[in-house]
Amino acid sequence: MAASLTAPMALADWTRQWLNGLPVADGPLAAVQQRGREALAELPVPSSRQEDWRFTDLGLLAGLDATLACSPSDAGLPPAAPGVLRLVLDGRSDPLAGVVLPAGLAPLSDSELAQALGHTLAATACEHHWPVELNHAAAQQVLALRVASRSCLTLELVSMQAAGLLPLRVLLVLEEKAELELCQFAGAGGAGLTSLVLEAHLGRGARLTHGVVALGRNDAALLAHLAIEQEPESSATLATVAAGWGLARFEPRIRQVDGSASTTLRGLQVVDHRQVADTHSHISFSGPEGQLDQLHKAVAAGQGRSVFNGAVRVPREAQRTNAAQLSRTLLLSDRARIDTKPELEIVADDVKCAHGATVSCLQTDELFYLQSRGIAADQASALLKRAFCEEVLRDLPGAARQWCRFEHLLASV
């Protein structure tokens, strides 16, 4: 138990040291930085005493360089398809410098930015979360884009974190009936932390498909808040895949502001060694006839730890909500650990809200069936593990699917 007592102390020290080492607040986000720094100095660091962090130890961060990373890299990905815009986010330079944006895509003006930045974080009640304030305190750049009404675009965002902290801030505004396919790759090339805060506002009838492929390493961490606000008749699909991180935490935060929208969430996290992966999703329906289809999967090997907490809020005004949430874990080691919890809060009385959770090992009957056809035991178990992941991987949009070869995910599992 010593670790759980000393870790928050070490993390608090690290936070202080890191705050002291930050450059003077500057640039378009100076005010945000200042507020974030003040907030962070006051906020208690996450610890196992807080319900939201009960199972997830942030101790890894305390060992990282308390500096800002600068890491321009395309992560060695194959080039973007013709006509697809790829932006490399290094946390420091303007990702739009020298870039010609396609028709239908435009940067937000300063006044629009002032109005919109933080709006969705507040709407999804996470603007004061510790990882968000950390991002506020550090982020020097924000990629703020508007997708014009009725345009249909594909965009790629790529980042490769080196040692230190890589803060990434993204703000997307999709106008009425705009469509955006967003493929995001977050890699790790050093012992560092990628802090991602993304806000997306979907106008009426807009459609966002966002796939995140995050491939890390044992000494690297990822903290990601993905906040989406949906107007009626909009559709949001968010698929996140994370593997290999010493620590990865995803917080998808979705709010259907007036119901009647459709949300699809897909998550896959793979842990091995002593890795920790945690997804805390939060979906709130603030109007009737909203839909949610959520599938979260985890593969846990070694002494890895996988956490899933799926909150769904259906207040009185959210009648005829149709929500389904399923969490499935494949346990590959008796030393791995799973904590999975649905958290449904339903006040409306005319709703369909299904939820379920399964934890299983590889099935003997499935293995035997494959073996009885001449397929070797190790090949059979690889096929089954791949099949387990495939259910999420197939929902990654275009290029993200190519970045996420199964072999990378389960190299060591």
Binding site: Y369, Q371, S372, G374, Q379, A380, L383, L384
Partner: protein, 267 residues
């Protein structure tokens, strides 16, 4: 087709097996030669399905005594995948659904594993597609089933056709078909039985495990064995199956009670 000089493919001698602490097979003897079709009949719980699973190497079953020789080789010493590669095939009573594994890929990997054992070259995706499309005809199967996950959402009949398709691709020398007729309507039974008949030849052998005579109307066995209490109680020709159909299994109980099992030598 019975040819006394045909090579013995499979020889089971005094086979005993249990699942967990329960003894199920209690001394099975059976000799299968090339070209033969055997039917093993018997009530639920008589040990028929256990026999098939033990032969295929299911990990839940433990062999406690006896010997199984396949073409002179100790079959029980081999892992399940090796048994399959050298030509022993089990058609499952309940084919397993494997969501996320494409049927086509599964069939290709399995076929190539068998081919490698036979010293044949590996088939690439295109060559395999040609082969599988040709073999689909054996069971009149819709190619759309190739693009789905293994057995996922297949009807009972579709699953059994998929089993026979696998048999058509793997070309086993001994095929043990466990209750291949269960859950089939008349048309599906005819198609599946037709597939088995097409694949039977002078060099291979088939062991059909079944409850009912109706499968044997479509596939004519050379031998019919009646299993009870973990042993083969009686062996005869196809008329024994008709006899069973007419008289039921009650006489089996009487014979068991009398503790006078008929000698089991098969030609």
């Amino acid at each position: 087709m019975i040819r006394p000089d045909a090579p013995v493919l499979l020889e089971i001698k005094d086979l005993h097996a249990r699942v967990e602490d329960k003894a199920i097979l209690k001394g099975v003897n059976l000799t299968v030669r090339a070209g033969e079709i055997h039917a093993v009949m018997g009530r639920n719980g008589s040990g028929k399905s256990t026999l098939s699973k033990v032969l295929a190497g299911h990990p839940a079953y433990t062999v406690t005594a006896g010997v199984v020789t396949y073409r002179g080789q100790d079959l029980l010493a081999l892992d399940p995948e090796l048994r399959a590669r050298i030509g022993v095939f089990l058609g499952f009573q309940y084919p397993v659904e494997i969501p996320g594994v494409s049927n086509l890929e599964f069939l290709r990997v399995a076929t190539n594993a068998r081919r490698a054992e036979q010293g044949a070259e590996e088939l690439d995706t295109f060559a395999f597609e040609d082969l599988v499309r040709e073999r689909l005809k054996v069971v009149q199967m819709d190619p759309a089933f190739l693009d789905r996950s293994v057995n996922e959402g297949f009807s009972g009949g579709e699953k059994k056709r998929n089993e026979i398709l696998q048999m058509a691709l793997l070309e086993p020398l001994v095929a043990i078909l466990d209750e291949t007729d269960s859950g089939l309507d008349i048309d599906a039974l005819r198609i599946v039985a037709g597939g088995v008949n097409q694949l039977a030849n002078a060099d291979n052998a088939t062991v059909l495990i079944t409850h009912y005579q109706r499968l044997l109307d479509a596939i004519t066995p050379d031998y019919v064995h009646v299993m009870a209490a973990g042993r083969i109680l009686r062996t005869g020709g196809k008329e024994l199956a008709l006899d069973l159909e007419e008289r039921g299994y009650d006489w089996v109980d009487q014979e068991l009670a009398a503790q006078a099992p008929v000698p089991l030598e098969v030609a």
